[in-house]
């Protein structure tokens, strides 16, 4: 790192902000700096995700940690001229707390960050992920050095086991125990795999971590390799994450150049290298046996267990598969000790967990919280509550394998066991917040249709069972539900849970079961009253215009794709029910709240 430059503009360059145009901001900043002859004196640094995606693009100016939000390329001149040259903070780009109206110059004091514990994500937003020197300057590869020069594989496994690190991919299996089983299995060749096939729709924790701090995951995988006794590792990354793939690729190359990968690492006699494999768009490949099939070049279909991968995995060799976040925790455990790690969390779930906080929430973003935090703290303190002004209805945790948690459990501490007791699961950490304008039946249908499409087709309970459940849900959504349908759904769910080979099938009914458990009345409203209380299911709603609010501006009529809206200019309009497609275009077009959905 060039230590002479101490004026620095850190520009978020995670996928979310890149989508919002952060590349253009960096080049605008660079142009503005060049204009003032400052190009060599101020560093414009692309960094990983700051987490506060809602207010992207984030630019943080050092020294001082001034936290600018919602930055656009046209703000570049002001940042250079006012902030850097003038020494004056630009107030209009600062975050204003919606509750207190206080303007906050740095992230300290922001409710979004106050209850977070950014351990795994601590370098995201700080370092340039494409520069290994930044990682090295922040304790990077020191854990690997410690492991290879002072610790036996046994001691490494002992430390990780004592820390209580459990799999962050969802199931929560103790990582140290997984390593030990593979270590003890006989076999000349062994493999370790990093599972970065984050396929849950609405989840981007692993992607952000790989984009913001790829070396922490690489270092974790090398340590896992040493513990298990493997010479080869794979990183299986979704092809849909091009930026993450790019940064992992750069990271591996740099690690190889510096001798952290390759032969005789740290002169310890330990040889290890890592290859990237790209997932080709099959959700089931997040399941470990399917993932290994895919690496072998086959259709990604799960295999029966036992034998477990730790005994017979990739090409029949003992193999360990860990999630991205699990591995990123490992270097910090080695450096700071098991007690430090276990200092946070609950009795059975130690450390922190990252969540992708999305849906109808004020502060969409990537958060890392201590295990045992309540949903209420995540949603209302960190997330800033719901943006719609409507009441909270449910939180969907864990993606298609997870479940929906209603308001009465907002104060339940979150850990692996408590979520399972509620019928949900940690999953990899997607957390989608919904309000009373969302429909529980529709949510269940959404996840089930996802799983149904992604079912690999190997076992009939999953392949046929999810299809049958989906048909029933479609019927209910269309107003043709029958009173017996709720029992049918539960019976089918039980068969699928018991009869499926892999986790995808076994957990597929969860979104349906949890909504049936907590929102049964809503199912009944669809079946018996032919009503959708969330006003989502198209067959059960009608659009109309409130004559007292309509001023005949014709905005709705012009937006209607089916010419279903009629009326004279400046006279209240009407919607012809027969022609209405219920597409919602008029609702969006109207700026007088004159469109009624009921």
């Amino acid at each position: 790192m060039n230590t002479e430059i101490n004026v620095r503009l850190a520009v978020c360059s995670g996928s979310g902000c890149v989508s919002g145009g952060s590349d253009a901001i960096r080049s605008a900043l660079y142009t503005a700096l060049t204009k003032h002859g400052l190009a060599g004196q101020v560093e414009v640094r692309p960094t990983g995700c700051f987490g506060f995606c809602e207010r992207g693009t984030i630019v943080v100016a050092y020294p001082g940690e001034t936290f600018y939000t919602c930055v656009k390329p046209q703000d570049a001149d002001a940042i250079v001229e006012q902030h850097i040259l003038g020494g004056k903070i630009i107030e209009k780009l600062l975050f204003r707390d919606p509750q207190t109206n206080a303007v906050l110059p740095t992230w300290h004091g922001m409710t979004f960050y106050n209850k977070q514990e950014r351990r795994v994500l601590r370098r995201c937003g700080l370092i340039n992920p494409e520069n290994i020197d930044h990682y090295l300057a922040d304790d990077g590869y020191r854990a690997l050095e410690k492991v290879l020069t002072t610790m036996t594989p046994e001691a490494v496994m002992e430390e990780v086991q004592r820390a209580g690190l459990r799999g962050r991919g969802g199931a929560g299996f103790p990582a140290g125990l997984k390593w030990r089983t593979a270590r003890q299995s006989s076999g000349a060749r062994k493999f370790v795999i990093c599972n970065a096939d984050e396929g849950d729709p609405g989840a981007f924790m692993n992607r952000s971590l790989l984009e913001g701090d790829p070396h922490s995951v690489i270092e974790g995988l090398i340590i896992a390799g040493y513990a298990v006794g493997a010479a080869q590792g794979y990183m299986y990354v979704r092809a849909e994450y091009p930026l993450a793939v790019h940064r992992v690729d750069i990271g591996l190359r740099q690690a190889r150049e510096r001798g952290f990968l390759g032969k005789n690492i740290f002169e310890s006699g330990f040889d290890f290298d890592i290859e990237i494999r790209l997932g080709a768009g099959a959700f089931v490949c997040g399941e470990e046996t399917a993932l290994m099939q895919s690496i072998e070049g086959k259709r990604g279909m799960p295999m029966p267990r036992p034998p477990f991968p730790a005994e017979s995995g990739l090409w029949g060799c003992p193999t360990t598969i860990n999630n991205v976040e699990t591995l990123a925790n490992v270097p910090a455990i080695v450096l700071n000790g098991a007690d430090w790690f276990a200092g946070l969390g609950t009795a059975g779930s130690k450390g922190t967990k990252t969540f992708a906080l999305t849906g109808k929430i004020n502060n969409t973003g990537l958060v890392e919280v201590p295990m045992g935090i309540t949903l209420r703290e995540i949603i209302y303190d960190i997330g800033g509550g719901l943006h719609s002004g409507k009441a909270f209805k449910l939180a969907q945790i864990g993606g298609p394998s997870g479940g929906c948690i209603p308001a009465k459990y907002l104060d339940q501490p979150i850990d692996y066991e408590s979520l399972r007791a509620l019928g949900a699961m940690m999953g990899s950490g997607g957390l989608v917040v919904m309000d009373t304008d969302n429909c529980a039946v529709d949510v269940a249908h959404y996840f089930l249709s996802f799983v149904q499409q992604e079912s690999c087709g190997k076992c009939p309970p999953c392949r046929i069972g999810t299809r049958q459940m989906l048909l029933i849900l479609e019927r209910i959504r269309n107003g043709q539900g029958e009173p017996e349908d709720l029992d049918r759904l539960e019976t089918l769910a039980g068969i699928i849970q018991r009869g499926s080979l892999c986790g995808l099938g076994q957990t597929a009914p969860n979104p349906v079961l949890t909504t049936l458990r907590y929102f049964r009345d809503e199912y009944k409203a669809h079946i018996f009253d032919k009503k959708c209380p969330g006003r989502v299911c198209k067959s059960l709603i009608t659009y109309s215009i409130l004559p007292e609010k309509c001023n005949g501006c014709t905005l709705c009529a012009r937006s209607c794709p089916s010419d279903a809206i009629q009326g004279e200019l400046k006279q209240p309009h009407i919607i012809l029910v027969d022609k209405c497609l219920r597409c919602g275009a008029c609702f969006e077009a109207c700026n007088r709240e004159a469109i009624l959905i009921c």
């Binding site: 099959a282 849906g359 989608v432 597409c583 275009a585 077009a589």
Partner: protein, 157 residues
């Protein structure tokens, strides 16, 4: 038979991989599609020969993964995100509007070859939901009323 240019491009991709190495089938399919935009029956046959895999097995693997396309995509590809965050912010209505405007469904191409339409599971920029990606251009906070205008912009190019 492949036409000559396609064949040259294909051979240059294949030459980066070891002949007969069956474990690289998926990376090869990915690299070939990246180069040729889709996998034609002849291309898959060439790949299977090169790697020493039966055609049915190569096609079986390719058709298992949603990344692979077997027909020529349109000049522009519209991808509508229907991840959870986009779903709860009514991405389904955006998808329906595209279907209506283009007269095609998911994974289809318009008759004039201009547009292909795809629903995707998640782009991961959930703060911008609902999201539509045309080619590589990302359009966040999309509204169904903006669909026609967006298509017009790409129709001309």
């Amino acid at each position: 038979m492949l036409n000559e240019t396609t064949d040259i491009e294909l051979q240059s991709v294949l030459s980066r991989y070891r002949r007969g190495d069956q474990s690289v089938l998926i990376p090869v399919l990915q690299a070939v599609q990246e180069e040729l935009r889709y996998l034609s029956p002849n291309t898959i046959q060439e790949i299977s020969r090169y790697l020493g895999i039966s055609l049915s097995e190569a096609y079986g693997v390719a058709s298992f993964y949603s990344q692979f396309r077997f027909s020529r995509p349109g000049d522009h590809t519209v991808k509508v995100c229907l991840g959870t965050a986009c779903h709860v912010r009514r991405g389904d209505l955006i998808m329906e509007t595209f279907e209506r405007e283009l007269g095609i469904h998911d994974r289809e191409t318009t008759a004039d070859g201009k547009f292909s339409l795809e629903r995707v599971a998640c782009f991961g920029c959930c703060a911008l939901a609902p999201v539509v990606v045309v080619d590589k251009e990302i359009h966040g906070r999309m509204r169904s009323t903006g669909v026609r205008k967006l298509l017009k912009k790409f129709e001309a190019s």
